[in-house]
Amino acid sequence: MLAPGLVTLRFHNPKVARETIAGQFVNVLPKAGAIDPMLRRPFSVYNTDGDEAEIIIQAHGRGTNILADTAEGEMLDVLGPLGNPWNYKSGDFKTAVLVIGGVGVASMLLLTRALVKEGLPVQSYYGARTKDLLALQDLTNLHVATDDGSEGFHGSVINMLRKDLEARKIEQPKLFVCGPTGMMRAAAVLAAEYGIPCEVSLETEMACGIGICQGCPVPTDDTTFQKTGKRFRLVCMDGPSFSAETITI
């Protein structure tokens, strides 16, 4: 257990463990071999260690309830790694600002490691409804906010970050954002206001995870892309992380 409301699932999968780059995800069946629930669920790869990988489960529906109850030694059916990594080598920033909402923390541990390896300073702004949903392990330069004030700043993580941006506390920041849709939208607006680069990692309903079902579109504002006659990008193949100004969240 990572926090009272979050559990991690650790599984042996050399391919996922060795090949995943920060920001990629796996598509996991709630119950291997079952046809109900039928579809896989996408999860960010939270951690890798040798031949093992970890995902975070916040039980909130049929699939995640089953996964949260997975017994030790049970087989998991995992497809991955899928999608594109965070663009942490974009070179347009001096400080990486991780903006984290709730279970969005799942894509931040590997990102933190990758940024540290690149020698880039990291500031982590982490908000959750309440302190029981915070997974604080291994985050760097942590600023915590909770909606109920049970830990850290009382209010939204975006308001906490806004104060620090206003005070010009952060040198040439780029936002890496993962959390609920409303919070990611607010982060994108904030980044646009301050003219700073912003990347968001999206979560949507998804069936296949590999670009065949076309089930996970996100409207795009990217005119170069629209010249191909398309109005949507796919979260699974073209994302899950996108430069915020290219899409409509």
């Binding site: 039928m38 670009g211 065949i212 079902c213 076309q214 089930g215 579109p217 996100v218 006659g229």
Partner: protein, 324 residues
């Protein structure tokens, strides 16, 4: 000894013929569940499939419907993709040449909103046909676009008229994909047969719905969508059976197939081939798993050819006498 396993049992003959076209086994992948091949190739040895029915293609590219496009339901899912596709020009310049590299058969699925568009798309593909393009599947049954083919698929006269028109434009296989969203599939099967279709495929998705009980809003952006997956298999099986009784042309069974056993049921009910659909979203290699399982089933059951299963339903005399 060729074809004889070490246990002495001969390997079953998995081949299927549709009017002169020989498929290596009866398992195709369904339109819209396998893209144009490239996406799934990493996960599936596509040369082990009998063939690929490509994602529906229309004259112009279609962006598809806004999110949400997919909702999971009990043993299935609702979709409202909206025929997102690259358009026929990109299809013939990029997708068909790519697919030509593989030793598997290609069936191009066509969706359109008018008789002329169906014909133009088919004729454009005919002009650029690749050696492994063996035919067309005509989608007259997509429930998720306002101007789509369902207006053809729910009208017997229009189904017959469209089939006649397209029949005149190609000597390749012409397969009409039927909808279950009608009172009886029988007259549609008969219309396709009269108009010269080589086969019918069924079923496309069933119109379905899901509602968010807290916001009172439909979960799909198009309010209703198409239901697929194991949940619809019994319906699909009954429709294949009804179509089998109604017409004499070959039937390709579709609807919730995830296993070799499911496939055997469809063959017994009267289909000579099947398509794997939604299962590809879970296991991109579902088609070859099913084909392999089917070969094992035939061998274990001492059935020498897959064709022996086709239309082998046994209904006891007293049931028949009672009108069933």
């Amino acid at each position: 000894m060729n074809g004889v396993e070490s246990n002495g049992q001969a390997k079953a003959d998995m081949r299927v013929r549709l009017r002169g076209v020989e498929f290596k086994n009866p398992v195709l992948v369904a339109s819209g569940t396998f893209g144009y091949g490239a996406e799934a190739k990493k996960y599936c040895d596509i040369e082990q499939l009998a063939g690929i029915v490509t994602k529906s293609v229309s004259w112009k590219p279609r962006p598809g419907n806004p999110p949400h496009r997919i909702i999971e339901t009990a043993s299935g899912m609702l979709n409202s993709i909206g025929l997102a596709n690259v358009g026929v020009h990109t299809f013939v310049s990029e997708k068909l040449p790519y697919l030509a590299k593989f030793d598997t058969k290609i069936i191009a699925n066509i969706a359109a909103s008018s008789m002329e568009e169906y014909r133009d798309v088919l004729e454009h593909i005919e002009q650029h046909a690749t050696p492994n393009l063996v035919g067309y599947e005509i989608n007259i049954s997509c429930p998720n676009v306002k101007d789509g083919g369902l207006s053809f698929g729910t009208n017997v006269e229009r189904t017959e008229e469209l089939t006649t028109l397209l029949r005149a434009s190609t000597d390749r296989l012409l397969i009409i994909k039927l909808t279950p969203n009608v009172t009886s599939v029988a007259p549609f099967a008969q219309a396709c047969e009269r108009a010269g279709a080589d086969a019918i495929s069924l079923i496309n998705t069933l119109v379905g719905m899901s509602i968010d009980i807290y916001t009172h809003e439909p979960r799909l952006n198009t309010v209703t969508g198409g239901l697929s997956g194991p949940a619809i298999k019994p319906i699909a099986l009954a429709q294949v059976y009804q179509a089998r009784k109604a017409c004499g042309i070959p039937i390709i069974g579709i609807g919730g197939i995830v296993s070799a056993e499911d496939t055997v049921e469809f063959l017994i009910a009267g289909a000579c081939m099947v398509q794997i659909g939604t299962a590809n979203f879970v296991h991109p290699d579902a088609g070859i798993r099913v084909a392999r399982g089917l070969a094992e089933f035939l061998q274990k059951q001492n059935i020498s050819a897959v064709g022996d299963l086709v239309n082998s339903l046994r209904i006891r005399a007293e049931l028949k006498a009672a009108g069933w």
